[in-house]
Subunit: 116 residues, 2 copies
DNA sequence: CTGACGTATCAGTGGATAATGATATGACGA
DNA sequence: TCGTCATATCATTATCCACTGATACGTCAG
């Protein structure tokens, strides 16, 4: 094993970081709950709060995060702001994860490295 | 808005947690680097260490995590242990993430909620 | 204009967790 | 058997980050 492999991967380091960041963005129950609410419908912040049971600042913070990441889009309507998924690929990625959970990623609940 | 929506989502709470856990599992640069090494080939721990530049205990810890989660499988061979992706769906999920990054999730680098 | 409502922002804090160093375990060769 | 190599485990530490409460901003109704 030369050090070549190492150097190659270090070059791809930024790509890995970006991937990781995307997955971490999706790796939060609050954000997933918000996305889940938006899968069905375009929603105002209050509606998301109602669907998820999360606090309003929490929802707003996370929506901003999702917006910055490009996963949702927003649209002002009077004093309401309505959010929706930016792209159906977002929902597709979540479905792909569900398929993985159903098939091979069984026992994920048992992994004790991080909390369920 | 009734409380019905809230109750429904609370019922699905465990599913959300599980999704989140899977994404968090993939949301770590070290684990992604490890998976990246395994995409090409079955690898021993040392080979993964070489590919990624990570420390050996770090790699072992994360491989155990990935194994528990069912994302990789292992096979003993003398004093070596060879790991591989458990399923091609794992690689597919990562590719789906890359597609999202290329198309709609632009600006993820600018999201300041968490570090890049 | 004023009060109520919807949303956004921000600092503080507690909890989670990734990486490391030390060490243990197990297998091979001499 | 002894030393070496490959891997695993574990406690510690330092960091990161999600949530909350307080508050600000903007919009509409009366």
């Amino acid at each position: 094993m030369t050090t070549q492999g190492v150097r190659d991967d270090l070059l791809a380091h930024d790509a890995l970081e970006l991937r990781a960041k995307l997955f971490r963005g999706l790796g939060d129950p609050s954000r997933l709950a918000i996305l889940d609410a938006l899968v069905s419908d375009e929603c105002s912040v209050q509606e998301v709060v109602g669907h998820t049971g999360l606090g309003q600042p929490n929802v707003s913070n996370n929506l901003r995060c999702l917006l910055d990441c490009g996963l949702v889009s927003r649209r002002s309507e009077g004093r309401f702001v309505r959010y929706r998924l930016a792209d159906r690929r977002v929902a597709e990625l979540i479905r792909a994860a569900d398929r993985l959970l159903a098939s091979t990623a069984t026992g994920l609940g048992d992994c004790e490295r991080y909390t369920e």
